[in-house]
Symmetry: C2
Subunit: 348 residues, 2 copies
C-alpha cells in the first residue's frame, strides 16, 4: 500500500467561471493516526454546485476555502486506522473529508453508513445532503398538496431529480426544467415527470414562460428554486396566489461575477419580482440544509423505502480518479453532468 | 338638505405619477333607497397608497377601476335611509363606499362602528384596514421576538406607525425610516421608536445601509416592507439569519411605469436580493390584508386597548371636502402627508 496521498487545493480565487489552473493537485504522506481519531481512505467524493461559492471570498453562509487550502466535499470513505472506540477498520463512513484520497479526523461529524441500505455512494447523493435538501425544501417549505403543480429546475440533477419524483409520489403535477433533449427525455421517461422544458431551447425568460405555461394549465403552486436566471424569470408570471418558493441555490448565477453579486446590467428585475411576491401573496424562503439535519432520520426512512420499492430512481455521473475532479467540477457547473456527480476516488 | 351629491371618477389612466386631470368630479342626484338596502352620507374617506394600483390596468390582486368609474376607498358614513333591518337611520358604519359624498348600497360588507370605542374615523385608520395590515403583517408574518430588531419604512404612516409602536410594546428595538426631519422626530419622540432614518438625507441604498447599520448594532430580524426602493436596498445587507420580511406594499415604486413593472434601467438588483434570501435563510412573504380579516376581532380588541391606555398613538392628516381629495392623494404618494390621510367629506 502506498504511503502517499493526493489532495486538491484551491490555487487561486476564480474570476467568473473557474478554470483548471484555479486548482492544484498536491501529493503528500498519508497522515498518522491522531490520538483518539481515525484515518480514512476515500472511496467516493461528491461534487456539488455549492462548492463554487466556497471558492469566493464574498460573504456567504460558510467560510471561504483559503487559497492553498483543501477544497471541501462530502465523501464516503473506509476506516483504515482507528484509535476511536466508535469506529473499526473496514467501517464505511460519510463525512466532509474534502477533495482527497486520504484524511485523518477526530471522528466528530463522521456518520457510519449501512451498506445494506443502498449502494454506499448514495450517502453523498440521493440519501445524503442533496437528497435531504430536496426532501426538506419540498416538504417543509414547499408544502405541496395533492393536485398542485410543481416546477423544478435542474430536474435531472442530484437535488432536482428527487424533488420531481417526490412531487409525483405526493400526487402533484411536476414540470421540470433541464438542459438538453436527452435530460428532458430522462426526466419524463425515467423519473416520471409530467413534462420537462429544455432551457437551451428557450431564448429568454419570456420564451420560458410560454413553454412552462403550456405545461402548467393551472399555474404553478411550488417553484423549487435551485437555478435562478431564465427559469426564475420564466416561472414568476405563472405563480398562483399562495405559491411557495423554497430557495436552495442559484446555479446559473454562480459564475457571474462573484455569485451574481456584480450587479449585472439592467433591466432591473427586482421590482417585478417584488410586486409578484406581493400581489400573489408568495412565500419565499431561503434555506441551508445543514440547519435541518434533525430531519435526517425521517428523510432516510422515507426515501430509502422509495428507492427499495423502485418508486425513486437516481442516476450518477461518475468520474474516476481525484486528479480528474477539477475538470468534472467545471463540467458540472456548465451542466455537462447528468444526475449526481461523483468522483470515484479509490480506483485501485 | 341638498338632493345632489358628488363623486370622484377616474378620468384617465395615469402615465407614471398621476396628475389632477386623471380625476374628474361629477355631480349627480343622491340615489334612491334600494329595496332592502341603505343610503349613506359619507363622513370620512380614507386615502391609501394601494389606490394608485387600482388606477392601472396591469394585473394585480384586485380589478382596476374602469375609466369613468368611481375611485375606490374605505369610508365611515352615516345611514340616512334604510330598508335593511340591520341598519337604522343615524347608525355609523364603515364600508368601501368610494370617493363620494353619498352612496346607496345593499348593506353587505357594511360594518357598524361603535363610536364609544374611539373616534369614528379610526375605523378606516388605526382600527381599520391600515391597522390590521400592521398587526397581521408584524405578528403573523414578522413574528417578532423580544430583543429582536425591526426596521419599518413609512414609519409615521398609517401602517408603519402602528408597526413601530407594536414592535416597542413587544420588547423589540425598532428603527423607522421616514421622509424628513419632522417625521423622524415624531417617530422617536411621540411614537417611541429607538431611532428613525430620514431617507431624504440618504443618497442611495449604500448610504441607507450605513445609516441603518449605525442604529442596528445587532442586525435586522424583521423588515416590514411597505416602501421598497432605497429602504429595501439599504436594509438587505443587514438582515440577520432567519430574518422575516412581510411585504404589504412598495409605495416608492407605484409611480414608476406601472407600479415598477417597466423594467427600470440596471443594474439588475435581483441576483443580490435572491442570494441574500438564500444565504441568510430569509422568509419573504407577500400578503393582502383582505385575506386575513378573520383576525379582525383579535386585532380590534388588542389595539383598541392600547389606544385607550395611551400606549399607541396615531396622527391624522385631514383634508376637508371631497373636491380636494385628488390633490391630497397626489401629495400622499409623494410623502406630503403626515400620519393617516383622511378626507373629511361631510363639512357642513
Amino acid at each position: 500500500m502506498s504511503t502517499m496521498m493526493k489532495e486538491v487545493v484551491l490555487a487561486a480565487r476564480p474570476q467568473g467561471a473557474p478554470k483548471l489552473s484555479d486548482f492544484r493537485i498536491e501529493e503528500k504522506p498519508i497522515p498518522d493516526l491522531p490520538a483518539g481519531g481515525i484515518v480514512v481512505r476515500v472511496l467516493w467524493q461528491s461534487l456539488d454546485p455549492y462548492m463554487r461559492g466556497r471558492m469566493d471570498e464574498s460573504k456567504s453562509y460558510a467560510a471561504a476555502v483559503p487559497v492553498g487550502g483543501k477544497m471541501e466535499a462530502g465523501c464516503v470513505a473506509e476506516i483504515i486506522a482507528s484509535d476511536n472506540p466508535k469506529f473499526t477498520v473496514g467501517d464505511i463512513v460519510e463525512s466532509r473529508f474534502g477533495w482527497c484520497t486520504h484524511a485523518a479526523a477526530s471522528g466528530q461529524g463522521v456518520r457510519k453508513i449501512d451498506p445494506s441500505l443502498a449502494p454506499i455512494q448514495t450517502a453523498i447523493g440521493i440519501l445524503g445532503m442533496p437528497g435531504i435538501t430536496a426532501y426538506v425544501g419540498l416538504l417543509d417549505h414547499g408544502r405541496p398538496k395533492k393536485g398542485e403543480t410543481i416546477v423544478v429546475g435542474a430536474a435531472t440533477g442530484a437535488v432536482g431529480s428527487l424533488v420531481g419524483q417526490l412531487g409525483k409520489i405526493y400526487g402533484c403535477r411536476v414540470v421540470g426544467v433541464a438542459g438538453g433533449a436527452e435530460k428532458c427525455a430522462f426526466a419524463v421517461e425515467e423519473l416520471g415527470l409530467d413534462a420537462c422544458i429544455d432551457h437551451h431551447a428557450q431564448a429568454d425568460g419570456k420564451a420560458m414562460t410560454d413553454a412552462l405555461a403550456a405545461q402548467c394549465p393551472d399555474g404553478v403552486d411550488v417553484y423549487f428554486e435551485n437555478v435562478a436566471g431564465k427559469t426564475l424569470d420564466g416561472v414568476m408570471p405563472l405563480m398562483n396566489v399562495w405559491g411557495r418558493i423554497p430557495v436552495c441555490g442559484m446555479i446559473s448565477q454562480y459564475n457571474l461575477g462573484g455569485m451574481g453579486l456584480g450587479g449585472a446590467e439592467g433591466p432591473d428585475r427586482l421590482p417585478r419580482l417584488w410586486r409578484t411576491i406581493l400581489t400573489q401573496r408568495l412565500s419565499v424562503r431561503g434555506f441551508i440544509i445543514t440547519d435541518h439535519y434533525d430531519r435526517f432520520p425521517a428523510f432516510l426512512e422515507e426515501v430509502s423505502g422509495y428507492i427499495r420499492d423502485g418508486r425513486v430512481k437516481y442516476r450518477e455521473s461518475i468520474t474516476e480518479g481525484i486528479e480528474n475532479a477539477p475538470q468534472a467540477f467545471l463540467d458540472m457547473l456548465k451542466g455537462g453532468n447528468f444526475g449526481k456527480t461523483l468522483i470515484k476516488t479509490a480506483t485501485e
